[in-house]
């Protein structure tokens, strides 16, 4: 259910923007979804198929750009990417606490005509 309501918000945000820009239809909706956002892209895709019919985005493609989780190790002063929730710094093997990216739930852009 979780993804259905997120998709609903994202879609209406997209439709509003498209309408304001005078679009006849939406061709692509691009979302940025962080690896640690707790949202599954497949489920968003499914939700989109349920919600899009009858809207300007009926024929749109949903393009989901995954945003990898990026952590910062304050000891080694380096950033590292990991899809593991329990990320360890590859330098010192200590767990990192500072998440710099990876929780995004964002409507990035639209292709309209």
């Amino acid at each position: 259910m979780h993804e259905l309501s997120i998709m609903q918000s994202a879609l209406s945000m997209a439709l509003d923007q498209a309408r304001q820009a005078g679009a006849r239809q939406v061709l692509v909706i691009r979302l940025r979804i962080g690896a640690l956002s707790g949202v599954a892209p497949d489920a968003l895709q499914f939700a989109f198929e349920v919600l899009a019919p009858g809207t300007l985005a009926e024929k749109a493609e949903l393009a989901i750009e995954p945003v990898p989780a990026r952590f910062w190790c304050a000891d080694c002063r380096r950033e590292f990417v990991s899809d593991d929730l329990f990320a360890e710094c590859p330098g010192c093997h200590r767990p990192s606490g500072e998440l710099r990216a990876g929780r995004e739930l964002e409507v990035a852009s639209l292709e309209i005509e």
């Binding site: 209406s12 304001q20 929730l85 639209l110």
Partner: protein
Amino acid sequence: MCENCGCGSTAEEPIGISARHDAHEHEHGPGHEHHHDHSHEAPPGTPASAGSTHDHDPGHGHSHEASHSHSHEAAGPDSSHAEAAEARRTLEVRRAILDKNDRLAERNRGFFRARGLLVLNVLSAPGSGKTAFLRETVRTLAPHLKAGVIVGDLATDNDAQRLRETGAPVVQITTGTVCHLEARMIARAVAQLDLDGLQLLIIENVGNLVCPASYDLGEDLRVVLLSVTEGEDKPLKYPPMFQAADVVVTSKIDLALACGYDRDLALACLRRIAPRARLFETSARTGQGMDQWREFLIRQSAERKARDPLGPEL
């Protein structure tokens, strides 16, 4: 609407806020205006009532957060778009799906900081002992810090009643079917609290380890409770909640022996997912560990005031 679990309700109307012991009419001092229903745009996904008809106060500057289409597309809302509509074009949106809540939370944060208030957002699964822990916290802190409490629950004001026994001002938010608190609800509830003389504001969130993790309320510290009866590996099962924790409190530590609590394992799990969180082990019933927790809050409050550019007096 809850973006997370689809609980289907909006935070707009069904929310009840009661501060029954303190039925004063409230006026708002400078720095707190009744803007709760206002935002620059009606973020899609919120019901049409959420701001489709709103006025702008004079002096209310527009920022670029209200992501309108960019002018180089030559197809503003009112312009004729006959030509442009033929062409395929890109609209940059770049907006967080929870954008509106985040901005309301920042407004709350600014308001709290200007008052030198230390604000805690206290989260846990139902039944972890939040209310008992907070009651004990507020009661024993009273000689050092005066606290007010905002309590969120789906229904009843039982928790508020229990907290009022401490003598602290308490506002209950009943969320109806909404499974978490949102920044907007906090702004409304705060309007019911007499903040003068308070140094600490505690927000007891709805018991839920999933959805509230996504909603910033404007707090300084996220405090997540985990009781010894819930299983040592719980932080690994609910990573977003624990990852966002500034403080993790192990509660009901007096029951550790009875339920075969493996402390080393529990701490190892916590350290993996929340390596930088401050940890406390407490029992509201026996008072164990409450001293350290109390001292921590007193220190945090002093730091909050020292950091605030407006200073401790306002």
